[in-house]
Amino acid sequence: MGPLVVYEIISENTNFLLAFLIGISFGFVLESNGFSSSRRLAGMFYGYDTTVLKVFFTAAITAMLGLLFMSLFGWLDLSMIYINPTFLWSAIGGGVIMGIGFILGGYCPGTSFCAASIGKLDALAFIGGLFIGVFIFTEGYPLWDDFYKAKFMGSPTLNEMIGVSRGVLTFLIILVALAMFWVGEWAEKKFARKDYTINQR
């Protein structure tokens, strides 16, 4: 039963090897979908390219469904997987700052590595910025230590908060995601730019 490393079906080192292989798939999929292009990523916020929305949410609902089905078939022990903890203030604050970084820089860390690997110099610049940003955080840690640890709410899941089962929440999110895809398609037509082709199959 999974997770494999928790149930000691694979060793720690195999886990790292698989991390590498999973990373390769991750990078490959990201690049094949054009996440190596900052114009494409930024396009999400201007409407001319909603690929980010489609890929992101399709991935999220696929993973949600996948995890729940695997638990259903006894292939995965959901109580053993890592659920991101919720520190409310730093989640919001960090998110806002990241949002600024996203729209100014045009990348997020994962996509920047992906883009750097195919030669995008602006991605390299972004990565440089990442290191600086992290360093600023770690060095000045005592200054924001309290904010960082504020309002710890454990690891609540959204379905617990609104009082439905995971499956029901997944279904609701699926509906929301599909609605967003339809809006996305409409937006792409409406906000299309002459000098930009989405270039997708």
Partner: protein, 210 residues
Amino acid sequence: MKKMNARLLLAAAVIPLGLIIAAVPENTTRPYKLTAEELLNEVSEGQQFMSPDEIAHMIISNDPSLQLIDVRSAAEYEKFSLPNAINIPLENLLSEEYVDILNQDVKLNVFYSNSSNQADQAWMITRQLGYNNNYVLQGGLNYWVETIMNPEKPAEGSPNEEFAKYDFRKGASDALGGGAAVSASAGSGTQGNTPPIVKSKKKKGVQGGC
């Protein structure tokens, strides 16, 4: 056009899947760790038992690793319980609040009940879930009272160990508030080794984030 089809295809796939997953109740079974054969072996060897002498010794010497668990009903626990014992009635054994007590590698949990039936049952269930460091008080409270609380003085001519044991039990009985009578020597004599606490490799909490 292809994209339009892909979207519809996706919708056609995820909506039914979503409905299924929303309708089906979640799977919360905990897997069994031991095969039936393995369990039978352990049961036959009887390694889960700890004698009253061993337990008395641990209590008197204030061994911090001992944790007695009374698996009888709350009412019986209220009436009489062993020193520092906690009460986990058998029917509540699998409740979430006790998981951390039962599945750990720091303390030596010893189940006890009146005879050893219920305690044995508790042990079997937790053993099957793969928990280590759980044991059973041999003979239960009935035997405990017989041996420790009211130890029988061995007949004249019995081997010295019998007397040593008797002395120990007498001393224990006093220390634990049992019968009257003085002990010849309060020394702790030779007792069985407490079983080693197996460092169960508790499933490492997964690290994540970032």
